[in-house]
Symmetry: none
Subunit: 160 residues, 2 copies
DNA sequence: CATTAAACTGAATAAAAATACAGATTAACT
DNA sequence: AGTTAATCTGTATTTTTATTCAGTTTAATG
């Protein structure tokens, strides 16, 4: 069921994505302009529920940003989630192409990101494929080995 | 040169990585236990400088976390929304990998697209990463320069 | 050195965000 | 419907964070 709260939180996400908002009072005003009668207290609660964060940009100005929630997991679990959803891993020039179970690519990429592996310049995920950019062909090959190792490590089905 | 401030900020990062800290007062106490006589005001300033954020975990508990900025944040003052959402920009062979604030990649890619820059063959965006394909390595490097310029556009004085 | 400017920091305070409390609304069940 | 429990939200307040102001230290230059 679609509640008023759902609509409100959706609008909050929309506004935060579209505008540079740096205080909850600002957000509250914007919400009112968009037809949502809310107070700062409610915005505070919604922001907390939605896991929205306040980031400080390099120019020392801060603003709210919507954070995707896959990021903060314990390392062990991370490796597990990652390795269990992988199907294959190959390199193509300086790119590593990882195949995952359907719908797992986002989670796998996010897990990979938080491992901070050497040579990973960046990752992009679709539904069942992750692209990883490496500096060059050599590094991409090295990454494939590393990831292959993790795939076998994760099969030792012991949990935390 | 290694200043007292450097040491202090390094310790702050260390403590935040190792402990679950949810207020600056907590951090201040921990700092004191580790031999750094600081006040909450200084912690606040350091946290801001370091781009450290406060995240709300899925269980609704919040804590500070070090946001990975890949170390190479571009200097200078950022102007518009596009450049404000960029964190870093590197090339890897013929690819340009752009890191953005969480949730900003789509917007950044779309903004980039509408600029019709030379050499941009195509872009694809995840949550906080944009891949840009260029015809070759040279062109990718040129693109990085162009984007770096945009990131520091509007700075008052020369670089630090 | 001496002088001036810049960077840094603490104490006090202002600004912003989170929450206790109470009333209102909704849900679930009899 | 009536009852109870749970969820939700605004007001007022507390808690937390950012900043102002003034004093200090550090750095740069004559």
């Amino acid at each position: 069921m679609r509640t008023a709260k759902n609509d409100r939180q959706e609008m909050i996400i929309k506004l935060i994505k579209e505008h540079d908002i740096s205080t909850q009072d600002e957000l509250t005003s914007l919400m009112k302009k968009n037809g949502f009668a809310v107070t700062q207290a409610t915005c505070s609660r919604d922001i907390k529920e939605l896991g929205i964060i306040k980031v400080t940009l390099p120019n020392q100005v801060s603003k709210y940003a919507v954070l995707d929630r896959t990021g903060d997991v314990a390392p062990g679990r991370l490796l597990n989630v990652f390795s269990n959803s992988l199907i294959s891993c190959k390199s193509a020039m300086n790119m590593v192409v990882i195949k995952t179970l359907p719908g797992m690519a986002q989670a796998a990429a996010s897990a990979l990101d938080s491992m901070h592996l050497q040579y990973v310049v960046g990752t992009i995920a679709g539904d069942d494929t992750v692209f990883v950019a490496a500096p060059g062909t050599e590094e991409a090959n090295a990454l494939v080995s590393t990831i292959d190792d993790m795939m076998s490590a994760g099969n030792m089905s012991s949990e935390e």
